[in-house]
Amino acid sequence: MPTLKIDGREVTVERGTTILEAARQVGVDIPTFCYHPGLTKPANCRMCLVDTNKAPKPTPACYAECMDDMEVSTQSPEIVKTRKAVLEFILLNHPVDCPICDQAGECVLQDHYFKYSASPSRLAHKKVHKPKVKRLGPDVVLDAERCILCTRCIRFCDEVAGETQLEIVNRGEHSEITTFPGKELDNPYAGNTVDICPVGALTSVDFRFRTRVWMLQSADSVCPECSRGCKTRTDTFENVPRRTKPLHNPRVNDWWICDEGRLAYKDYQEVARMEGPAAQVEGKRRIVTNVEAIEAAAAELGAVANRQKIGVVVTPWFTNEDAWLVAQLLKGPLAGARIFMGGRASGTADAILRQADKNPNRRGVEAVFGAFGLQAQPLAQFDGAGLEAVLVFGDNHAIGEAQMAKLEAVPKRVVVSAFQTPFWKMATTFLPARTHFEKVGTFTNFDGIVQRMDQATKAASSCKSDGYYAMKLGEAMGDTAHFGRPEDVFEQLRATVPGFAGMTWAALLPHGMKLGETVEVTAAPAAPEPVASPAAAPTEV
């Protein structure tokens, strides 16, 4: 356990800790370009050089390990000068691109130059020019002039994606990132190279030139595209998601996300959104108000006295809170109804992140339903025979034409969904739902990690969550209301569903909690943000 001093601050760290990691522990900021906590350390950018009493020359803090009695200086005049020199070299051939560069505003090079140099150029010659638009793969374009050759993208492909696709060719100022001959940067995680590029060299085809980053508003989200549930940040502009960026969660996805999840936000923009509640008026389906649609739905379902003649299609796209509210409906007013679990079909899986189950919350929904003794059959086993009414949540169920025909054959069809799909089309009563971008709630991933997501975009006022409709239907059929804010529902959920008991709403940030895990009483609140509701305080543990 070496003890050392960094800028006069004493710190004791584990053997093997680098100076950079130790410095971050005591709040000393050391600038870096090539260092990434999830990758190996080549120490090639030289931005993190620090002075120590253990070496005659400046030492790269990202690579050098802490030693006993080490004295590190990150602010000595030599180091200040060294950083300026490093930045001067890095900027020597850098194009004057900020006004057209996607990275401007979130560029590490801009930040470091402004903070550590802010000195004029001394270049007397012409800059070296390199290819400006070099397509490396389906979603990644390289601007070779902007590249500072930190090799983060190369290391990512080698070490994380497991496919060696990128390399540096040529020497000196002609060095350039490129793909191996005949190869493309087409691994399913290629988009991460754009995220980790500290400058604007690697750009996403999807986001390139679309929106200036300082116009974006961000919300923490959870990717719903598979049961991994990567922690993400949804960046929106004018209430429309513009890109998805992975956030660090060591329990789920480290720093990464697959390209499927990254680009999935666009799928929701390609389908027509259905925001109007509809019900039967004088024998025809008409747009009505929410209240009227809910009344109509309750009337349709309530008219079926024998609840066993009602079929309810639930979905693993519910948040845990939605699932809990739906469970209240199914064990209360609709007790006895036949339950079918829908959801998307399985897909590709790999050993990195991607899971075969392409639904975000199967584990959570099963846990909640299980707590109330609700058994769901797979939707594939749906047999409409004898059913008088069906209540369908969600619209992305993998279902064949024959099954669909069976659904449509049921006389009364209440559908809660967000998009223009066959489910919307077949509905006798339609209740417009929210997408996951519009919800606050929690998802439980395949591994049992429960993560919180915030609302990224605002929904039309007519669109409500599945749980809201479940509660309103229950209310219309004589049940009492349960719905408050999602955190209030979560409080009730953790009181009734085993596995959630030890959690608190606040403790779900930043990295989520595993089913069965308990907040430590002595631990400081895990959430840096103020506690949203009094009920969220860690009281019952």
């Binding site: 900027l91 004057v96 900020c98 090079l109 801009q110 130059y113 402004f114 004029p120």
Partner: protein
């Protein structure tokens, strides 16, 4: 050094009739004299009545409302209502970069905007711990003194106008126009100057400007001398001003008076001499002070201060040497356009300064200078970002307006006008 302004003694010029002696017999206005004794016609007095003066009264310029309680024509109570020109300057500043706040400061004291510009920039420079080049300081001093002249001219001229002196008003405003022409040459605008920058100035003085200033000085001093001749020994003006709106030294200090209003009571506090900023310690000038703290003294102090300002300006031009007008640090001052368009270094610095602003270390700072009306102070709290976390302005006339009640209670309704004029309340500054 402090010099007393001299009050003329009437009587030797043919139209004095021992007025001063009669004046002395008159119950003096001010606190404690509300009802000196029940007058003989007490039974005729009706009850007090309350009237509004302003906010759209021609004499309540700057937009202010007085709620007056009158006993006949005597002011029993005066309750000034400010806020009609509130723009939320302080709150707006919290969402602007330090540079973006500057244009808002133009609109504080809009008669001497350059003083506000200089004050703001100096406050941020104080927080950053940087020092501007000498040439920048001299130009800032010249700008401040021109502003002071503009401020005092406005106060004196408007005051004269409202006492019926239309000619001195025209002369004064003509002089102010000349000042504003020079300011326009310097900054490109008469009022919305936005001339300074954190760390320097927008640009150097234009060619031939020194000569233009010298010519203007002659013209303006001639006009001011005319105003002086028309007003200082004018019987009507003197009677309306002398002894009216007086405030004691102790009260003035207690209420936080600064500037001409404080100096008229005999206190020689002037930020320029008590806490010399810029290069005021390198120039010689006198700080005129009065004796009685009445309207007349405030008028005389302003008149003399204009003459001292010209002295300062002349010395600044004499001492000024060619050189840079801004600190060279690109993390504070925008790089030259050539560097912005042709080098990535200049481009990044420009981008960061425009988008995120100067990074001011976290902490608090109070910067203050001598504005036209007194001490203009900016209290700024920074959280280390490029935008202020909190800004509080200390406008000099806010403190002085508090004294209006002491100055006018017991006086006549008509005395409010010259008193309000010499206070020189500026709506943009008091309401922010």
């Amino acid at each position: 050094m402090a010099t007393h302004v001299s009050r003329p003694t009437h009587g030797h010029d043919g139209h004095g009739h021992g007025h001063d002696a009669e004046w002395a017999k008159r119950p003096s206005p001010g606190k404690g004299n509300l009802h000196p004794q029940a007058p003989a016609d007490d039974h005729m007095h009706a009850e007090y009545y309350t009237i509004n003066m302003g906010p759209s009264h021609p004499a309540t310029h700057g937009t202010v409302r007085f709620e007056l309680t009158l006993d006949g024509e005597t002011v029993v109570e005066i309750d000034p209502h400010i806020g009609y020109l509130h723009r939320g300057f302080e709150k707006m500043s919290e969402v602007c970069t330090y540079g973006q706040v500057l244009p808002y400061t133009d609109r504080l004291n809009y008669v001497s905007p350059l003083c506000n510009n200089v004050g703001w920039s100096m406050t941020i420079e104080k927080a950053l711990g940087i020092d501007t080049p000498d040439r920048c300081k001299y130009i800032r001093m010249i700008a401040c003194e021109l502003s002071r002249i503009s401020d005092h001219l406005t106060s004196i001229s408007a005051g004269a106008l409202e006492l019926g002196g239309f000619t001195p008003f025209l002369y004064g405003i003509q002089a102010r126009e000349i000042v504003w022409d020079r300011i326009e040459e310097l900054t490109g605008a008469r009022l919305t100057t936005s001339y300074t920058r954190v760390g320097g100035l927008n640009h150097d003085i234009p060619a031939g400007w020194e000569e233009a200033i010298e010519n203007s000085r002659k013209e303006i001093q001639h006009l001011v001398d005319d105003v002086d001749k028309l007003l200082t020994r004018n019987r009507i003006f003197y009677d309306r001003m002398a002894g009216v709106g007086a405030i004691s030294q102790a009260d003035a200090i207690d209420l936080g008076f600064t500037g001409p209003c404080l100096r008229s009571t005999g206190v020689d506090y002037d930020v320029r001499t008590y806490a010399p900023y810029l290069l005021y310690d390198r120039v010689e000038f006198d700080v005129p002070v009065g004796t009685s703290g009445d309207n007349y003294d405030r008028y005389l102090v302003r008149l003399e201060e204009m003459r001292q300002s010209w002295r300062i300006i002349a010395q600044c031009f004499a001492q000024m040497e060619p050189g840079p007008i801004s600190v060279g640090d690109w993390s504070v001052v925008l790089p030259p356009k050539d560097a912005v368009y042709n080098s990535i270094e200049g481009m990044i610095a420009h981008f960061k300064l425009i988008m995120e602003g100067v990074r001011v270390p976290s902490g608090e700072v109070y910067g203050y200078i001598e504005g036209g009306n007194g001490e203009v102070g900016y209290y700024v709290v920074s959280d280390g970002s490029g935008r202020p976390w909190r800004v509080k302005v200390r406008p000099p006339c806010f403190a002085i307006m508090q004294g209006l009640r002491l100055m006018t209670r017991g006086a006549l309704l008509a005395d409010i006008i010259p008193t309000f004029d010499t206070i020189n309340m500026i709506g943009g500054e008091i309401d922010r």
